[in-house]
């Protein structure tokens, strides 16, 4: 229908689709035009006025229900032994743009036939990162021979399908200064240099405990879960890049709750979407009602510079051009001293600085300015 295409630039797709669904197919062109014209008029009258302080409205709309959010971290509903940060701490974590999360988490979707539950346990264990500590039952230092001995646990090795020789090989690969040998169920790491202190040996012993052997680095727990007709794997610990490269994984839907990981693997637009989804998920789970538009505005602000910036004095606030605006947020003296050192100029173009010097702020009716036409000189 060409009439709808005519209006595509004037009203959003959602409105057009609604009209399409609502009108009978036999409607005449002139009537349809009338309806759409009315939609345009209604849409334009419901738009935000120029100069409206949308940021302020958003801040209040998110802040007010935020006071009612629980400060507790709950257990994951119905799932054993999975702890996830929820509530206000999680919202703060996202909006501050923290790089390290308290509970990083992934939801791994699988391709067929794995999504139907085939070999799901085995696959989950293959994703789980295994460290040397997980397959060893004892670490000891042999001072006479300058060696570290690791007693391997055969049962645990069987569970994750590792053999003694494969463990030995991967240990040797990452530690060059030691000779790795297998001695009936034991891994012996002998120092290549003769002169080695006990302290160094001890440090090495602690280091190899957390050596990565198999699986995906960073994933500490796995949990296969059934969700609406298919099986997915929920993990504690996150490593999106490595998981997406796995063949069994559905790389189009698998996500993590780590915004920065999404930014580096999928780009800034995906990070923006993830911020909206994550914040909205928390607010929804608390039974609160905040319009998505407010969250969208916050997410947009965090992502305008091309990389995710938190709403902190190191993040988006440091991007403000006005000295006074920056000083009014946090650590005022630092900002004012730095500005005076390099001779910064404040053009007083925004809100906060004008409030400070008691001048009309450029929002609402304060936004339009008068401009005079210069009279011709003759």
């Amino acid at each position: 229908m060409s009439i709808y295409a005519e209006y595509a630039n004037k009203i959003p797709k959602r409105v057009i689709d609604e009209v399409k669904d609502g009108v009978p197919e036999s409607i005449s062109e002139s009537k349809l035009k009338k309806i759409l014209d009315e939609c345009v008029r209604e849409y334009e009258s419901s738009m935000v006025e120029a100069g409206e302080a949308v940021g302020l409205v958003s801040a209040e709309s998110i802040g007010e229900p935020g006071t009612q959010m629980t400060l507790n971290t709950f257990h994951f509903a119905g799932v054993a032994e999975m702890n996830v940060t929820m509530g206000l701490p999680r919202v703060i974590e996202i909006l501050d743009g923290r790089k390290s999360l308290t509970t990083p988490m992934m939801e791994i979707y699988l391709k067929k036939p794995y999504s139907k539950g085939e070999n799901i346990r085995k696959l989950a264990l293959a994703i789980k990162g295994t460290k040397l500590r997980d397959v060893a039952s004892e670490f000891s230092i042999d001072m006479a021979e300058n060696a570290i001995r690791v007693l391997l646990d055969k049962e645990k090795m069987k569970e994750i399908e590792l053999t003694e020789s494969s463990i030995g090989k991967s240990v040797q690969k990452s530690i060059k200064a030691y000779n790795v040998k297998l001695e009936d169920g034991m891994l012996a790491l002998k120092s290549k240099s003769k002169e080695i202190t006990l302290n160094e040996l001890y440090k090495m012993k602690e280091k190899i405990k957390s050596m990565h052997l198999a699986g995906v680095k960073g994933v500490t727990q796995v949990l296969p879960v059934r969700r609406e007709e298919e099986y997915i794997i929920i993990t504690a610990g996150s490593n999106l890049k490595d998981v997406l490269e796995m063949e069994e994984v559905d790389a189009t839907r698998t996500t993590t709750n780590d915004i920065f990981e999404i930014e580096s693997v999928l780009g800034i637009e995906a990070a923006r979407k993830a911020i909206i989804d994550e914040v909205f998920k928390v607010i929804e789970s608390q039974g609160l009602n905040v319009d998505v538009r407010h969250i969208m505005l916050v997410a947009d602000t965090m992502c305008t510079s091309g990389s995710v910036r938190g709403i902190t004095r190191y993040g988006i606030v440091s991007q403000k051009s006005s000295v006074l605006a920056r000083a009014s947020f946090e650590t005022p003296i630092k900002h004012i001293i730095n500005a005076s050192l390099i001779g910064e100029v404040d053009y007083l173009t925004s809100v906060v600085e004008n409030v400070m010097i008691n001048q009309p702020v450029p929002i609402g009716t304060g936004l339009p300015k008068l401009r005079m036409k210069k009279q011709n000189e003759n």
């Binding site: 959003p12 797709k13 057009i16 790389a251 780009g267 800034i268 995906a270 510079s305 091309g306």
Partner: protein
């Protein structure tokens, strides 16, 4: 190595979180800047190295049109300028 990087980027574009990115041609770019009366510096930014635009062969100064799926408007267009970071 280069081949590998390109392969990975195309995979990123298939992800549900990634909306459609397209590069504006020079003519479209001029029309866009005139229509909204903005200069290039005023636009939101996107890094050249962003995984979602790896396949577009873009350079700093290009404008990327992003068609987002919006929970309120159904679909909405957003524009970012490519920067060299």
């Amino acid at each position: 190595m280069l081949q590998e990087v390109i392969m990975k980027d195309i995979e990123a574009t298939k992800h549900v979180l990634v909306p459609k990115h397209t590069k504006l041609s020079d003519k479209e770019k001029k029309e866009f800047l005139e229509k909204y009366a903005v200069s290039i510096e005023d636009l939101p930014k996107i890094s050249v190295k962003d995984p979602a635009i790896g396949h577009l062969d873009s350079k700093p100064g290009d404008i990327i049109k992003i068609v987002r799926k919006s929970p309120t408007a159904g679909e909405s267009a957003f524009y970012r300028v490519v920067i060299n970071v």
